[in-house]
């Protein structure tokens, strides 16, 4: 069910990302709502399909982008790996874990993007990229982490209702 739901949900988020979010930059950085959704989903307790979400989100994000295939996929898989690691250790402070995962996930995504562009002969200046793209994107992602975490939390509770001891 959660895997089936990922296709329309993440597909819709990719459309929102391309049509709206990418048009609202701070300097040249934009938020990544798919990364936020995947990270928030991976941090939910009792959720099992988080790797599937990373793969589906990574593939869907590649479709409208000129970035080489696999950049978003690898970044989201790394993000989910980190979220999975944190979920087992700092579960008492889920919002802190969300902030940490989003922060690292953004760095993974941008680092891999820069590496891929460099490898394909289209290098970007590192300092300008950091100042004008990565730092503003980090700010936007951290700002949107809370509402996305709440929304995805509600969705996870709906799909995986808490067990009641009788």
């Amino acid at each position: 069910m959660a895997v089936l739901l990922a296709f329309p949900l993440l597909g819709g988020l990719v459309m929102v990302q391309s049509a709206i979010v990418s048009r609202i930059p701070i300097l040249h950085g934009t938020a990544d709502v798919v990364l936020l959704a995947v990270a928030a989903w991976a941090l939910q307790p009792r959720v099992t399909a988080h790797w599937h979400w990373a793969v589906i989100g990574g593939v869907l994000m590649t479709l409208p982008s000129a970035l080489p295939f696999g950049v978003f996929l690898a970044a989201y898989l790394l993000t989910v790996f980190l979220a999975d690691l944190l979920r087992r250790r700092v579960w008492r402070v889920p919002m802190m874990a969300m902030f940490l995962v989003v922060f690292c996930g953004t760095l993974f995504s941008h680092g891999l993007s820069l590496l891929a562009l460099w490898l394909t002969g289209m290098p970007r200046p590192l300092l300008d990229s950091l100042n004008l793209v990565t730092l503003p994107s980090l700010v936007l992602n951290i700002l949107l982490a809370v509402p996305m975490s709440v929304l995805i939390g509600d969705l996870a509770r709906w799909l995986y209702p808490p067990e009641i001891e009788v």
Binding site: V14, A19, S22, P25, G29, V34, A66, L67
Partner: protein, 283 residues
């Protein structure tokens, strides 16, 4: 027969005289204090009664009126919302019509080209890349490398094509390289996109007297773009004595953040000059 001296006749006569007298006194104003004394309590009582009656009538009939007013209010609110949506739609249509009208003027002014009109429906999901997605693709005759313009000037070129959509690389993308010519000085140069979203010129010969405000046009060299497409104006020149070439910054004529509708020049085919480029000889 009525007798004038009968008691009844006398009573009638007295009553008539009294009536005439009262009328005369009333007309003369002698009865006003008396009538005020009598009427004031009556008026007050009637006012009190009328007010209470109207209050009771309102109380009894109000629910029906309230329901009717609420229904009317809901109808008017719905009507208002519909009209507001219509106004927004018409405003959007007007803005689109203005853009299309300007594009039509451009098409009429440049009849040598064939165009396909496309709407910008999205941007690249990576903030490192300056690409837009348009709603026309190979089904509409678009091919990779076709130039994309607006009525203001050059926007970029088609980088990838799907059946119903295409991805356009903007001039501001950091990987963009366009051979250009400066209109007044006639100097050739290379236009570069920046990660900052700005445009710059490189490879301007030191001997060229480049002026601020010069128009930057495509030169057509390299076969990637048709010649004489407007790109922008020189906004600053940097000349170092020790450097081989001058550099300059360019103010583009197109607002790349507000792209809505673009024209794809479909009768231009880019020339692939890769086979003509010299390759390092093998010893």
């Amino acid at each position: 027969m009525l007798k004038f001296n009968s008691p009844r006749s006398i009573l009638i006569a007295v009553a008539a005289l009294l009536a005439v007298g009262l009328i005369f006194m009333a007309l003369s104003g002698y009865l006003t204090p008396i009538s005020r004394l009598l009427l004031d309590p009556l008026v007050t009582a009637q006012g009190w009664l009328s007010t209470r009656y109207l209050a009771i009538q309102d109380f009894v009939t109000a629910p029906a009126d309230l329901a009717r007013l609420r229904q009317r209010n809901a109808e008017l609110e719905a009507e208002n919302a519909r009209l507001q949506a219509q106004v927004i739609e018409l405003q959007q249509q007007l803005a689109e019509d203005r853009v299309l009208s300007a594009l039509l003027d451009y098409v009429r002014a440049n009849p040598q080209n064939q165009y396909v009109t496309a709407s910008v429906i999205g941007r690249d999901t990576s903030p490192f890349l300056q690409y837009v997605i348009i709603n026309r693709g190979s089904d509409h005759g678009l091919r990779r490398g076709m130039p994309v313009v607006t009525q203001q000037g050059l926007v970029g070129r088609v980088a990838a094509v799907a059946p119903a959509a295409a991805r356009v690389q903007l001039l501001t993308d950091a990987a963009t390289r366009v051979n250009v010519r400066l209109q007044q000085s006639g100097a050739d140069a290379v236009l570069l996109g920046q990660v900052t979203g700005e445009l710059s010129l490189d490879m301007i010969p030191q001997s060229s007297a480049v002026q601020v405000g010069e128009l930057v046009l495509t030169s057509g060299l390299g076969g990637d773009y048709p010649e004489n497409l407007l790109i922008g104006q020189v906004s600053g020149v940097r000349r170092l004595e020790a450097a081989l070439f001058q550099t300059a910054s360019v103010q583009p004529v197109v607002d790349f953040k507000q792209l809505r509708i673009v024209l794809v020049i479909v009768n231009f085919r880019p020339v692939d000059i890769t086979p003509l480029l010299p390759t390092p000889s093998v010893p």
